[in-house]
Symmetry: C2
Subunit: 886 residues, 2 copies
């Protein structure tokens, strides 16, 4: 370890902004501000490396640290002209944590350090403000006693409360110096009792106690948990900032405040902030006194007193620093300042947190102002924030009764009366528009009901369960795997924790956060301004990946196109089979015992499918449309109700018992690994034939109307090149037949899903027969990890809780396992077919981290649900920018 401590003060600063990893965010920015010549209270930063050493050695300091820190204290005394522990002119310092990544409130802070019975008297004399001095000491004991010495926070509050009660006052400020002296005595007794030790008078002991406490707080439980969630490495460590105190609470010529260079909610370009006269920083946050706006722009009522009006020259100075800082950092800044007896001190600056809306506006504005370039703007917005923006959200000001929490499966908020079955939903929808479907889990039979409801809530399933996938496709809010729910179908109630919600009661679900909320809650639709479109335009300058969409209907296709999708990467033909007008024919097809029986039913389905494809080709005029042949286990289509079974039997001229037996035969122990995908097309070639015919007839018809059709046919669940060969033969023959009949010539690519480990492992052979690969990462994750998407909810919860998994592998690609298979497949495929087109159409196609992986591993396109298209565009652009920056 070379240099362990970095000094900062106007004119003699050793650090800079780019040293964030070493000095932490706060330390680096203090150094930068000091370098810029801004009035920063001087101090020094102990590096994160010292903390890392401290953690690794279970509490040891590197050799020479003590000496170095002591030297820097001397330097600080010299710079500021006060002395640490001096009775007449005491130096007080703050000791604060400051990690390379922001971890607000997670670690410890000590203020007013350096006070004891002697220095407090000196401070009182010096400031001529005894109450201020003893209040500072009181606050210091409370903070230090809690954080460093382990006395309980609530005990301090109890003593404070009792003192106020005895004195019959309400506010802390109503306690006078004498009261505070009494309080200090009691505080010290408390510390002695709780910790077994005397509160230290030695200021150096105080200093080292605080430094150690900050280092230790890096590994407190909440900090570890926060890092886990935010994916901050445990080995970074925090820096410690020792800084001379300035006080905003010495009198009415003092103030403290927080300001933003632009409005952090809307992104609008004006100076925005709040301040309090005669207050310390914590008072602004604590919410006991109401802060005032710094200027007219920040006002929201007329009787507010602005800083601009009460301290105009200081405000002007602050406004100057604001301009300087934003110009310097080229981004919206969040600044803290204190005015001590008419002198303005800058305590902190950092890139300001902002709403997604503001993030977009600021980024685009800064480009227009010529401050940043488009590339920087694209990097300034988080892809995950965009997703939420496209849907209605709960008004942040609304008061919520949270009933429980599940997985945020499809973003946006929705309210409605609960209904327990899809069939009922269809029925009820005739009189009641607002419904929320609540189910254990959904199945393809529920699609009509799902489509009619405002949102979907399920007790089971993960991020790629049926409900989740379908809801995302529909752009409908959805919360899944809410294991707090118990549904009692008979009593027509659901229990959620200890509440009982009855059929027809109102609830609200928030698919962005996974919350389930009581009653109907006010929602708002974010106002997507021009800036959004502008930012999306910017992404096209940088992204290499093409973005397609998963869409099964013309409506979805149109939405996706509006969002910028350049084609369909996955059109699931089976979703078209569930319409009321056709499900019966589909069922007859499945239940037929002969090829002729199947053909008869297929002949009825053909014109309907052709119609579907015509609509989709039209919506995607000029763009490719990848259509997957029938994929799901056939028994998903089977009738469950006796009435339907009888109806079908009658129509087919067979006994209902025969149908029941057939249904029984079709049951599978593990349908995900059963009779599905290309296995259907191989067992029943006539299905593939009908589907290809429908596709090509539609393509010809639309082409005649002047639409530019680019069909691509995709064979699912191939694990063996011979499966693809067998299906391809049928596809090619049918295409040839249709084109001959229609006397037309339309090119149609033929490719396959790679969604089984064996497909990836034998990609060299399969690629010889395929013009494109589309990775079905849902199924590939399922088989590679051996997790059933339908059942994984509970296990995932345990695994994430026990830190076995970091993310839901169905939401964010498992790059180590599944990713390795993908890399093997692509490398091998390109050896045997260098021209092969590589795409992905699993749920991961809309996940930013996964998109980064796809971008870096030879993919040509990603395909995701329509509402994810903007997210994917942004993530793809960012990934490419990052790649080129490396």
């Amino acid at each position: 370890m070379d240099k362990m401590v970095y000094f900062f003060s106007k004119g003699e600063t050793e650090g800079k902004a780019s040293m964030k990893m070493l000095l932490g965010g706060k330390g680096a920015n203090l150094a930068e501000m000091a370098s810029l010549g801004l009035p920063v209270p001087p101090g020094f930063t102990i590096t994160t490396e010292v903390c890392a050493y401290f953690s690794k050695t279970q509490g040891k300091y590197p050799d020479g640290l003590k000496e170095t820190v002591n030297e820097h204290m001397k330097r600080l005394e010299k710079t500021i002209g006060k002395k640490f522990g001096d009775e007449s002119n005491p130096l007080l310092v703050s000791v604060r944590s400051g990690a390379p990544a922001s971890m607000p409130g997670m670690m410890d802070t000590i203020l007013n350090l350096g006070l004891n019975e002697k220095t407090v008297a000196g401070l009182a004399k010096l400031t001529n403000n005894e109450r201020f001095a003893y209040d500072s000491y009181r606050r210091f004991i409370q903070m230090y006693g809690d954080v460093v010495m382990g006395a309980e926070h609530k005990h301090f509050e109890e003593i404070l409360g009792k003192t106020k009660k005895d004195k019959n006052v309400v506010q802390d400020v109503d306690l006078n110096a004498e009261d505070l002296k009494g309080l200090i005595k009691k505080y010290k007794e408390l510390v002695k009792k709780d910790s077994g030790k005397d509160f230290p008078d030695d200021v150096n002991e105080q200093l080292w106690g605080a430094v150690e406490a900050v280092f230790r707080s890096w590994n407190n439980e909440r900090a570890i948990e926060y890092r886990r969630i935010e994916k901050i490495p445990d080995n970074w460590g925090t820096a410690v900032n020792v800084q001379s105190m300035v006080f905003g609470n010495m009198g009415n010529d003092c103030a403290t405040g927080v300001a933003f260079t632009r409005n952090p909610s809307t992104g609008e370009k004006y100076f925005y902030g709040e301040y309090l006269v005669n207050a310390q920083g914590e008072d602004v946050v604590a919410g006991i006194r109401t802060p005032q706006p710094i200027n007219n722009d920040s006002r929201n009522s007329d009787n507010q007193v602005t800083l601009e009006s009460v301290m105009p020259s200081l405000y002007k100075e602050l406004d100057g620093y604001k301009n300087e800082l934003e110009a310097h950092y080229k981004d919206m800044q969040d600044m803290e300042f204190t005015i001590e007896r008419g002198k303005l001190w800058m305590l902190q600056t950092r890139n300001g947190k902002r709403t997604p809306l503001a993030a977009i506006k600021i980024a685009v504005d800064l480009v227009n102002e010529g401050v940043i370039d488009r590339k920087t703007a694209v990097q300034r917005v988080q892809p995950k924030d965009i997703d939420g923006m496209l849907h209605p959200m709960i008004n942040p000001k609304a008061k919520l009764v949270i009933l429980g929490k599940g997985l945020p499966a499809s973003p946006g908020a929705a309210s409605g009366r609960i209904v327990f079955s899809a069939k009922e939903a269809v029925e009820k929808a005739k009189v009641e528009k607002n419904l929320i479907l609540v189910r254990e889990e959904t199945s393809p039979e529920d699609i009509a009901g799902m489509n009619i409801c405002n949102g979907i809530l399920t007790a089971r399933g993960g991020m790629t369960s049926h409900a989740a996938v379908v809801a995302r496709g529909m752009g409908k809010p959805c919360v899944v795997g809410c294991s707090d729910i118990e549904i009692d179908d008979e009593k027509r109630i659901m229990k959620i924790k200890d509440k009982v919600i009855k059929d027809g009661d109102f609830i609200t679900i928030d698919g962005t956060t996974g919350r389930v909320i009581e009653g109907d809650v006010e929602k708002m639709k974010p106002d997507i301004k021009n800036e959004f479109g502008k930012l999306m335009e910017f992404t096209d300058d940088f992204k290499r990946l093409e973005i397609r969409t998963n869409a099964d209907t013309p409506v979805d296709a149109k939405i996706a196109r509006q969002f910028g999708a350049m084609g369909i990467g996955l059109c699931r033909t089976e979703h078209m089979f569930f319409g009321e007008d056709r499900i019966e024919a589909v069922r007859r097809m499945i239940l037929a015992n002969t090829k002729e029986g199947r053909k008869k039913a297929l002949d009825e389905i053909l014109p309907m499918q052709r119609g579907d494809f015509e609509g989709i080709f039209k919506a995607m005029d000029g763009y490719p449309v990848v259509i997957r042949t029938l994929d799901p286990p056939l028994h998903e289509f089977l009738p469950k109700e006796d009435e339907m079974i009888k109806k079908i039997a009658a129509k087919m001229g067979v006994k209902a018992d025969d149908i029941r037996q057939k249904i029984d035969e079709l049951k599978e122990a593990n349908p995900m690994l059963g009779h599905r995908g290309c296995r259907l097309g191989i067992t029943f070639p006539e299905i593939t034939e009908m589907q290809v015919r429908a596709i090509m007839e539609a393509a010809c018809n639309m082409s005649k109307e002047g639409i530019k059709v680019i069909p691509e046919i995709m064979i699912p669940l191939v694990g063996n090149v011979k499966e693809l060969q067998a299906q391809k033969a049928i596809v090619l023959e049918t295409i040839r037949n249709v084109l001959e009949e229609k006397k037309m010539n339309i090119k149609c690519l033929i490719g396959t899903m790679i969604e089984l480990p064996r497909a990836a492992l034998t990609a060299f052979e399969i690629a010889k027969e395929a013009e494109f690969f589309s990775f079905g990462t849902n199924d590939l994750t399922q088989t590679t990890l051996g997790f059933s998407r339908d059942d994984v909810g509970k296990i995932l919860e345990t695994y994430i809780e026990k830190n076995i998994l970091k993310d839901d592998p169905f939401a964010t690609l498992d790059q180590i396992g599944v990713g390795r298979l993908i890399k093997i497949a692509i490398e091998d495929a390109k050896k045997s077919n260098p021209e092969i087109e590589i795409g992905i159409c699993g749920e991961h196609g809309g996940d930013p981290a996964s998109i980064d992986f796809f971008n870096n591993n030879g993919f040509d396109y990603v395909s995701c649900s329509p509402y994810r298209v903007p997210v994917a565009r942004l993530a793809a652009a960012q990934s490419e920018i990052n790649k080129n920056n490396k």
Copy 2:
């Protein structure tokens, strides 16, 4: 193509035995016999390369073939002193196929070629036997007309039948020369009518017609099908042998016969064979006349006339050749001979087909006789034959009514009265010993019933379905996936094709072939002689792989040990949970809602498990025992019957409805990918703890009794190194606790199953935490290929039929896909842990082809069901020998 035709004749032979690939088996052996100086009718062989060329070019001959063949015909004429097509001294030839691998009866043969109206008259004159000559011509026309010209065989038979009827005779031999001439005329008319062409008189046209027909027959349907089954490559081709005819049917100084150098059924060492006086080879086979034994040893009744007695000097000559040929080929020979007018001709010799029993005896005897070495003996026996030998089999002489066929899941034959439920079986077994359990499919709940029955028959499931795996473990005959069966539980009948079998009716199943047979059929237990043990001893000289067994009970462990298993590679603890005395406690454990509830139930299970392990350690004294922690989906253990639910609820003091709801909650859409394997141990660490405690307490107890215990604990279904770490921590702590309590020190390896693709792909990390890997190839196949073992039956049928798959991947390892994952895993694992022990405990551990793969890819041991141990020993030895021969 260099040399297309090879001549053979005593003293001027160009080929030899080792040229099988080029000359086919027959041609190579004819050449070899001729070289040895044996009396072989001269001729020549057209190579398999010519056939391959012919197939590839869709019917063209290589340049120069015609000329070469004509030259060799001239050479043949010269050698034998007859002329092809000559009216006074005609040369007649046979034209026969002969592939590198034996394909009996699959391809075409023409005899007596060279006859026409003129040469037949010459032959009559020359042999002074008009009837013989015209009968030969008649046979030639019939064969050639059918094979070459496409006239239908049955039409010839009709004409022959009508002629005999008109003449009022029964046997062909009762037709005289004039009758035959009339028949010939009619035959020629038939050929003209069926083919539209005249029967050729030109002998060269005859020759080339026959050659082409033989080449074409390589690609007839039955030959292709045969090759598919026997895995003979399609591109090998057949040779064509053109050989001068000799006749065993010219009179009573003629004969023809087949002989073996040792008894092919028993392997006993004596000359064994049959012959017929005045007959052609086909007559011996046709079964119209009963052949006679060649000597006393071959007699099975007293009134048989031996060749030794009627032609003693010729017999002596034959006996001499027999000795010469066996000594030359160093193996039992199957010879064909013909005696033409007192001269002995050797027509063929080849390694004789033999029963498994004979194969073992002959191999061991030849070692004892000093003819071959042990290594050769080990290579002479097919591993698959051994499997059948260890079980009772159906008496080959028994007459069978075959009802249907399923998959041969566990070898051996068994008869019994059918019973439709395991519970009933247990009940009925009190009065009726012989039962066959017939089920749609079995589940773990059926184990007690399965154990009581003689055999198991299921309508569904594949080679690794529950029924198959358990039955093999029990060494009980089992036929699965017999889709001909329809079970009607209500009527208590099963329909099989159109037969109805009632509850209590007798059937027989043959688990070696998959046949289901009506009634009780006579069975025999093969007499396993000393030779079997001897051969097994030989294998130990060569094999490198250690053979362990999959055994869950002391009984299984003992059987396996008798068969030579050197330890247990997989002990499935869950199988111990199904005993009547413990299933209830297990259910209470699963259904408990609290850790305490589970612990209480586990405390009851602990002593039982400990007892199980004690028995197993005892049986495996001195050998390692790999014990897998709980693996199957918990709901397999759940009660289904209301009575049991109520009983459990009462015992647990909860409502039956609560139990029902819990059961419902535990249901999974795809249990194979659900809450099982180490996921159980991670969710409920107390289960792992109990099991490890039972293992280690048992180990300590047995160790105190002087047993050498070598426990190894195996964690199933790991996909992430963190899972293994989490379980290992519990295992290590529990081991430490038990050993401290017992004040003992017993070493226990800790390892993991590799049965998920992700485990294989991240083996580098996992191997750091594991002392051994055991590949669970059943599950690995399931996930890599995306096939559910429970459902795969029907799809497999289609896939094998459509030639998409060659083998059942659950029986024979998919070396390309799954094998690649295995290779990746082993390579990576050895990088991070060079000492790691590698084993396999899936069903593939008993499959010879898979064992070869394991032997060649760094495995230390294979583990298989007890009855498979000898198979594995032999296969392991053969694999190692083959590897070293390469």
